[in-house]
């Protein structure tokens, strides 16, 4: 029952793969360039036309893959399962079909118990038009993800798309074995507009993009241990990050959770009084914290490694 999709793309030569932007790419381009060439096989591809049963009720356009691409392929010659969200369709939001495809992939990973999973997040959270189905999908995905991890499957999240990783996506990311994030990537639960709407512009000005990024963006997440690897915004860098994290993903047990709990407690103790991310970076020992957002990839990656060793599990 496996549909083999052979994607043809004119830029599949190595030079453009290594330089092309992850942020700019579509979900299909990301999958194609992340995995070994021509190794991807899609489950329930667009030709199955498994579209959302909810969107037509709102007279909204559907997409044949419902914004979620799942399948298997090879990374560095080794088998992997892959799920990728298309941030340009409904902001990558989770709906019934979208979520079910990821749940199914994670359950397959649990049953196989040997093949790692990569989740290419690009989502604003649950699709509002499918509220309950979407929320249920998030819960099912988290359960399936933990079950897979409990049998030793590494589940690695990659965050660097336009929609970021918000809402239920943020919760699922928090369950992953490890995360890689680029500067453009954002990880959070409540999005900037949601916070502003509920708590006022004094609490959080969603139009102040620099504030949004220094609070939720990749650099900050890397510095406070919310992501293990800081990736450059290229296909090649995310590919390297994925291979590294699959190799180094921690296992999942009660003691993992206990140490995670204590790390989170330490974090709130250490940074709870800070009113801005810049204060946190200063107390981490950054010499010129206000210049940190302007640093280029290599400078920042080196600085981040100096300031704080990646501490997995505590996001």
């Amino acid at each position: 029952m496996i549909a083999v999709v052979s994607e043809t793309s004119k830029d599949h030569d190595d030079a453009s793969v290594s330089t092309s932007s992850w942020y700019e790419a579509s979900a299909r381009q990301r999958v194609e360039h992340l995995l070994d060439a021509n190794s991807f096989n899609e489950f329930i591809g667009p030709e199955w036309r498994e579209t959302s049963p909810h969107l037509p009720l709102f007279d909204l356009p559907e997409q044949f893959d419902d914004g979620m691409i799942v399948g298997y392929g090879r990374l560095g010659g080794k088998p992997v399962l892959v799920a990728a969200q298309e941030g340009r369709f409904m902001g990558g939001a989770f709906g019934e079909i979208h979520g079910a495809k990821l749940t199914g992939l994670l359950r397959a990973a649990r049953d196989m118990a040997s093949v790692p999973v990569l989740i290419l997040f690009d989502t604003g959270g649950v699709r509002l038009q499918e509220a309950n189905a979407g929320e249920l999908a998030i819960a099912e995905i988290m359960r399936a993800l933990i079950e897979a991890r409990l049998v030793g499957v590494p589940v690695v999240g990659l965050v660097g798309g336009r929609a970021g990783c918000y809402g239920g996506g943020g919760l699922i990311a928090g369950c992953c074995s490890a995360l890689a994030v680029s500067e453009q990537g954002r990880i959070s639960v409540s999005g900037p507009e949601v916070i502003e709407t509920n708590r006022g512009v004094e609490e959080f000005d969603s139009k102040d993009r620099a504030l949004v990024w220094r609070t939720m963006g990749g650099k900050h997440r890397r510095l406070i241990g919310g992501a293990e690897v800081f990736a450059d915004d290229t296909m090649a860098s995310f590919r390297d990050a994925a291979r590294y994290l699959i190799e180094h993903a921690p296992s999942m047990s009660l003691s993992t959770l206990e140490s995670e709990q204590s790390r989170l407690a330490q974090r709130i103790e250490r940074f709870g009084h800070c009113s801005d991310a810049v204060d946190i970076w200063r107390s981490l020992g950054a010499a010129e914290p206000e210049n940190l957002p302007a640093l280029h990839y290599r400078e920042f990656a080196a600085l981040a490694n100096d300031l704080q060793e990646p501490r997995h599990d505590a996001r």
Binding site: D11, S20, E24, Q184, K207, R209, P293, A294
Partner: protein
């Protein structure tokens, strides 16, 4: 007996009335409103400086706080109605009559006040037209202006955002008006003198820098593939064949895409050095890659752009900079440059009708014109020849003897057939007509008149209106690039086909352009961060444009 110095004596009495609030020329911020109450008289023509970029915000607040028993019925003559205070003046009865050019963010509220009769409208102008009237029949009696710094003699440094200030002060100071400046700081010596101190009567130090809107910053991240296609069509179908070297760009995403395609697509077409070298243009951040790649020889600017100052300072060969190293912009001169010394204007608009008239007015918004009608019009007084100008003139009028034929400025409208929120770009009748009826205006606010437009570019192709020989051809040239809008579907297929055979309409395939090549990877920069990198970290984008 006739007296010939009434205005001078009035000026002296205004100065005397203001003197108690001043030490030398310096007035404390807390006395700003009292100074204005002392100096301004009911019914005065007042210019409160502000345009689509910088704002005399402190003075706007101070003027809105005057006692309307003392000051009322003012006639505001100013470029921009932009700050809420600009309209508060009319709601409070401090001002009654208005002549202006631009009202971006206040376009909805100004429409309401016009409908409600709170504003007595003189006219909506272009910038240059309003400046011209400052010297004929709308000379300000009081000008409230804005600069970066002043010294004790009142010499002003405007910084890179010089903009309208010289034009306003020249008219006011030399016709016995009073000039009051707000400045960010008072210093011992200004970095350069933009306005001589003896033209300035009072100076008020503000406690925060004046507001500047980053209006000319377009995030490459938001440029769509359809916009890229229109940009490719424009470059290959207009820039290249006419060899357009001297030009002005609008502020839309289509022209931002053109700027970002010059170093990639333009380079591939071998156009470097042959097109787009001399500009009347604000310092668009999206022009950075073209500058860095050696495409751009010279840029004169109307104003500056937030975050571009250090970059401009480091590229004095390209920009107009003062002895202090910073940009000196000048809206009046740059508008003149756009009118007389540019061979092309290209910009986007909201509505185009069947005659090619275009407008950014919708039924409940009066956005004003700014500079676009001046950029987007043929200068009938132009006399110097240039290749694009002569070629356009020849296409329009092939039968006249060459030596007696006028050239034509290329005036190009570019956009997608369906714009923001899927609103059609092409309409049978402009909303501007409805507005004119509603407000009983003599003229509908048309941004660019159809008889000035030479080309319309959409994703469906280019319509060359110069080659149309009658109204029917013109209408079908427009319908022929109007896509699936009602106007586009109303086309006569046969006539459109004939126009295409004559090269009046050119499709992407006629130009050898594959729409599938219109890919964001063609953009020299795909994010604001890319622009920062291109600039060697000299461009410092404002917070709202950063995603880092």
């Amino acid at each position: 007996m006739t007296t010939w110095d009434n205005a001078q004596r009035l000026r002296e009495s205004r100065k005397r009335a203001g003197a108690p609030y001043a030490q030398g020329k310096r007035v404390a911020k807390k006395d700003a409103t009292a100074l204005l109450e002392a100096v301004i008289r009911p019914g005065d023509r007042v210019c409160l400086e502000g345009d689509n970029q910088k704002q005399a915000d402190l003075l706007a607040t101070a003027l809105a706080a005057v006692n309307r028993e003392k000051i009322h019925d003012l006639h505001m003559v100013q470029s921009g109605v932009v700050l809420p205070e600009h309209l508060d003046l009319f709601e409070l009865g401090i001002a009654r009559r208005l002549d202006y050019a631009y009202s971006g963010p206040q376009s909805q509220r100004i429409a309401k006040l016009l409908f409600g009769g709170k504003i007595e409208l003189g006219a909506v102008h272009t910038y240059l037209e309003l400046f011209a009237r400052y010297y004929v029949d709308l000379t300000p009696q009081v000008a409230l202006i804005v600069a970066v710094s002043a010294d004790r003699e009142g010499n002003l440094y405007t910084g890179p955002n010089t903009e309208d200030t010289p034009a306003i002060v020249e008219a006011t100071a030399f016709k016995d008006g009073i000039v009051i400046a707000q400045v960010n700081e008072i210093v011992d010596k200004v970095p350069r003198v933009d306005i001589p101190g003896d033209w300035v009567d009072f100076v008020i130090e503000s406690d925060k820098p004046f507001y500047v809107e980053p209006l000319f910053t377009r995030d490459p991240g938001a440029i769509t593939e359809t916009q890229i296609l229109t940009a490719m069509l424009a470059i290959k179908g207009i820039y290249a064949p006419y060899g357009v070297q001297r030009l002005n760009h609008g502020i839309g995403f289509n022209t931002a895409a053109i700027e970002l395609l010059l170093p990639t697509y333009g380079e591939r077409l071998g156009l470097k050095g042959k097109v787009a070298s001399h500009w009347a243009l604000n310092p668009h951040p999206t022009l950075i890659p073209a500058i860095e790649s050696g495409w751009v020889k010279q840029v004169h600017s109307f104003g500056s752009e937030v975050g571009m100052d250090d970059y401009i300072r480091a590229r004095p060969d390209v920009f107009f900079t003062g002895p202090d190293g910073s940009l000196r912009s000048n809206r009046a001169f740059s508008q003149v440059a756009g009118l007389y010394a540019c061979d092309m204007f290209i910009g986007s608009t909201l509505q185009i009708d069947l005659q090619g008239n275009s407008s950014t007015v919708t039924a409940d918004r009066v956005a004003g014109f700014g500079g676009a009608p001046n950029m987007g019009s043929d200068a009938r007084g132009r006399r110097h020849p240039s290749q694009p100008w002569l070629q356009a003139g020849k296409e329009a009028d092939p039968d006249s003897p060459a030596a007696l034929r006028r050239g034509r400025k290329l005036v190009v409208q570019i956009g997608e057939t369906f714009g923001d929120k899927n609103v059609p770009l092409f309409v049978e009748n402009l909303d501007a007509l409805k507005l004119a009826t509603k407000l009983k205006l003599d003229l509908a606010p048309v941004m660019v008149y159809g008889d000035d437009v030479t080309h319309i570019v959409t994703e469906e192709g280019i319509a060359n209106l110069l080659l149309c020989r009658n109204n029917d051809e013109r209408e079908h040239a427009i319908r022929g690039v109007a896509g699936y809008t009602d106007v586009g579907r109303g086309r006569d297929r046969k006539l459109v086909q004939q126009l295409r055979e004559r090269g009046v309409i050119r499709r992407p395939e006629d130009l050898g352009i594959d729409p599938l090549d219109a890919d964001r990877r063609l953009l020299a920069a795909r994010s604001i961060k890319d622009l920062v990198r291109w600039s060697g970290d000299l461009y410092a984008p404002p917070s709202k444009f950063r995603n880092w």
